[in-house]
């Protein structure tokens, strides 16, 4: 349907973000003057009322499987007092001037949109009420709304939204900051389970995903990329390729990794992707890669061992004097932890379709961050950002991979080289594994000291990872408020960097997915040294309910304790028990505590059951989807630990070729049961795409320790 586009083009409500930084959570939607071009039935950028009294709501964010395409419209629909059966949902285009931030990342969509989307719905409702009041010559305060109609109970008058739409659209839009929002006890849709809007299409195989994009006259591109990241194109011979019937062009492009004017990717364009892909065998290419072939996994491991043994290059947090406190400590615990580079391995390989025509570039992009893609693609194509139209497709898995826009940048340049020809560029699985933005590896040397009274007096970490000029590479940051840094008097969180040629990036629960393993596993060791189990150690160090300051977010010790107590109760936690482990983590504004039950039979590890207790505030907006997200987080975390996931580098290049080299968890290794509960607290709702993942990894490692007596301090876990 073309309605999606119409929705944005015709709208007269302009949304914009205050600030706009990735972690800015306060959002505002600003009403602009009504456009004369707006059709009579469009109430704002997100809402159109149809003649049959159905209401079309625009879903503005990228849908990567997190369920946002249903969740954001639920907020609007509830405040509009619609019956859910009336609601029709359509994906909007990427247009941040119109819709505000459109990013799927950082579990930010819920906290960022909780108020603004409700305001949008409430504003639409108010305009409908005003229209009815005017029509009936009554005071608006005498009117109420329900199931898509305005009602005057005293007179029995009732009018459908459809019958009022034209008059409502003529109203001056209200100041969004002043619209009245529902009290939570009035919610009809928020907090109820709503299935995925695209599910009926998914089970029929309808074209929804980026890879399914079909534009008349479309041709197909397969990529040849410099195996060693950062290498550039020296020369190539495409005579044999171009001799293949159906091959149309070979285009050299810069995927954004190398300096402008250089190329790191060749795209073979043909009338079929299969043909373009096969033609790659006949392409002869020389790369300038001498500067980057020295980077190997083996070298990182040797260098990291040296780094953690020496003094830290810099500190992210210091309190008191950790070294002095350790010198005086009655007991000291120290251990080294490490984890590898990881790929995202979205099941839909990276792809994007572009059409360059009359100086304008149209893109069909499965991107988690289309605004970033717009800026980057415009720059490398020599176009103005407004020359780009970006259609948002459904996305076959994000996990952070598609916060980067290399596929969009590549497709844009190829399309520009072939004006008038729609081109779909598609990576194969090996391209996808070898040209990812990897979760960076890390090595930690941790030390904790106790005073004579048994209290934790000192905590030190020396974290070796990747960086340049004293700054971490993307996604290698350490949080200065990493627990227990805020509750120990003498702390030293030191960091040292080495260089890598690899592109790095955010993987679901970035940094937390690694730090939870390191810190909660080490704290299990510390707790044991103190004669405690980890939940009890956490309770004692958390202390009274209060908010602790943090660089990224405040940390509420009472909320942490709430989920710890809840999961212990559900799982029947009773001190250290064989085959059972615990982990807690706070990230993305969500508090999660998890218990894992395992068995090891003939050296084979089996996870029987996982208990999850989470606090994401006062409301779980769509419980049906919340359960699915929590399951996904838990199984993904277990997979990182159990299935041998590790990205290995040789001569500057990634060795993994396919799923045989980098496994994902399959159904036969998944737990039989995951019991999820939400602890509701009086805080605004926050996101659920990520925070349930990190604690399951240390919970698993801690469980293995209770069974085998062996501490597992390296990911992926090796049982033997």
């Amino acid at each position: 349907m073309s309605d999606t586009i119409a929705l944005s083009r015709r709208s007269f409500l302009v949304a914009s973000m205050a600030g706009g930084a990735a972690l800015t959570l306060d959002a505002s939607v600003v009403l602009a003057a009504a456009s004369a071009a707006a059709p009579a039935d469009v109430l704002n950028a997100f809402v159109r009322i149809n003649a049959d009294n159905t209401v079309t709501i625009g879903a503005k964010n990228p849908e990567i499987g997190q369920g946002i395409k249903v969740m954001l419209p639920m907020l609007i629909a509830d405040e509009m007092d619609l019956a859910w059966e009336q609601v029709r949902i359509e994906q909007t285009d990427a247009n941040e001037k119109l819709y505000g931030v459109q990013t799927a990342g950082g579990s930010t969509a819920t906290p960022r949109n909780w108020i603004p989307m409700r305001q949008v719905g409430a504003a639409a409702r108010e305009m409908l009420v005003l229209a009815a009041a005017k029509k009936w010559g009554v005071h608006p305060a005498t009117l109420s709304t329900a199931k898509g109609a305005v009602i005057q109970t005293t007179s029995g008058k009732s009018a459908t939204y459809a019958s009022l739409a034209k008059d409502a659209a003529a109203q001056t839009p209200p100041d969004l900051a002043k619209v009245t929002l529902k009290e939570p006890d009035g919610f009809q849709i928020i907090g109820t389970s709503k299935p995925g809007v695209d599910v009926p299409k998914i089970v029929k195989g309808d074209p929804l995903f980026g890879i399914d994009t079909r534009v008349p006259g479309m041709v197909h591109g397969a990529v040849v990329k410099c195996p060693a990241h950062g290498g550039t194109l020296a020369s190539f011979d495409d005579a044999a390729v171009k001799a293949i019937p159906g091959v149309l062009a070979v285009v050299a492009v810069n995927s954004g990794f190398v300096p402008e004017g250089k190329a790191d990717t060749l795209v073979i364009v043909a009338d079929s992707w299969w043909k373009a892909s096969k033609a790659r065998e006949k392409l002869s290419v020389k790369w300038d890669n001498a500067a980057v072939t020295g980077f190997t996994t083996a070298k990182y491991e040797v260098d990291a061992a040296k780094l953690v043994a020496g003094p830290a290059q810099t500190n992210v947090f210091k309190a008191g004097d950790a070294d002095a406190a350790l010198a005086k400590a009655a007991k000291v615990v120290t251990a080294d932890y490490e984890y590898p580079f990881l790929a995202h391995a979205t099941l839909e390989p990276q792809n994007c379709t572009g059409l360059f025509k009359d100086g304008k570039l149209e893109l069909w992009a499965p991107s988690q961050a289309p605004a970033g893609g717009r800026a980057e693609t415009a720059k490398l194509c020599g176009l103005a950002p407004d020359d780009l139209t970006i259609h948002m497709t459904r996305i076959g898995g994000g996990f952070g991979r598609r916060l980067m826009n290399d596929y969009m940048v590549i497709a844009g340049q190829v399309a520009k080289a072939m004006p008038g020809k729609p081109v779909k560029v598609l990576f194969d699985r090996t391209d996808d594994f070898r040209h990812d933005f990897y979760r960076p590896a890390g090595w930690h040397r941790l030390t904790a000291g106790f005073g004579a009274d048994g209290a934790l007096t000192a905590f030190k970490d020396h974290f070796a990872t990747f960086g340049t000029d004293g700054k971490p590479v993307r996604a290698a940051q350490m949080n200065p408020a990493e627990y227990p840094a805020q509750v120990v008097p003498n702390v030293d969180l030191g960091v040292s960097y080495m260089s890598t040629n690899l592109a790095t990036g955010w993987l679901r629960a970035p940094s937390s997915n690694a730090m939870a393993f390191v810190f909660q596993s080490f704290l299990d060791e510390v707790a044991e040294a103190a004669g405690l189990d980890l939940p009890e150690f956490m309770r004692r160090t958390l202390g009274d309910a209060r908010e602790l300051p943090g660089e990224r977010a405040k940390f509420h010790t009472g909320r942490a304790r709430g989920v710890i107590d809840a999961v212990c109760k559900s799982a029947g936690w009773n001190g250290r028990q064989k085959g059972r482990g615990f982990g807690f983590y706070f990230c993305h504004l969500g508090y999660f505590a998890e218990v894992v039950d395992i068995a090891i039979t003939d050296g084979a590890l089996k996870v029987d059951k996982v208990w999850v207790a989470g606090d994401i505030g006062a409301h779980v907006i769509n419980p049906l989807n919340a359960m699915n997200q929590a399951h996904g987080c838990v199984i993904e975390g277990l997979g990182q630990a159990m299935i041998g996931q590790k990205i290995v580098q040789e001569a500057g290049a990634i060795t993994a070729e396919n799923f045989g080299d980098f496994g994902l968890m399959r159904i036969d290794a998944a737990p039989r049961e995951i019991a999820v509960e939400f602890v509701k607290t009086d805080f605004p709702p926050t996101g659920l795409g990520e925070p349930a993942l990190p604690p399951v990894i240390p919970a698993l490692a801690n469980a293995i320790y209770t069974l085998t007596g062996k501490r597992h301090r390296r990911l992926p876990l090796e049982l033997v």
């Binding site: 998914i202 089970v203 968890m665």
Partner: protein, 168 residues
Amino acid sequence: MSVTLTVNGRKRAVDAEADKPLLWVLREDLDMPGTKFGCGAGLCGACTVHLDGEAVRSCQTPIADAAGKQVTTIEGVAMNDLGKRVVEAWTALDVPQCGYCQAGQIMSATALLKQNPKPTPEDIDGWMSGNICRCATYLRIRAAIRKAAGLPAEMADASALPVAENLA
């Protein structure tokens, strides 16, 4: 080469290289993009279709091998009762997250139930382990297969089902 095959009950003729996989013939030549490309190596199951009733990885099936055969894809799986039951169970339990693997999951599940109408939990896990779900909807996949088979929900599946007591 020119190949004739029957796709979802309809005779189709295509002209393609003999080694072109059935997956790409479906997606490119027959405009049926429901069957998904995931790995191109038979490792993820996203491209699963039925060839003369048997589940195969269409990325590993040269079009020449499909000549004269009956192909069922996700677009046509609900044309028979069993496929319809599977699709309905998938919908009722809201199985998908991103949804990309689910065509392959449904095709594998339907093939399982065809030859094993009342599978045990181990049968389900064993058969379905060739299909990766990167979003990890495995608990709901298990529950949906049981539902389509008319088996009672496992105790272990309770948390996978839409109505969770702790949210009531």
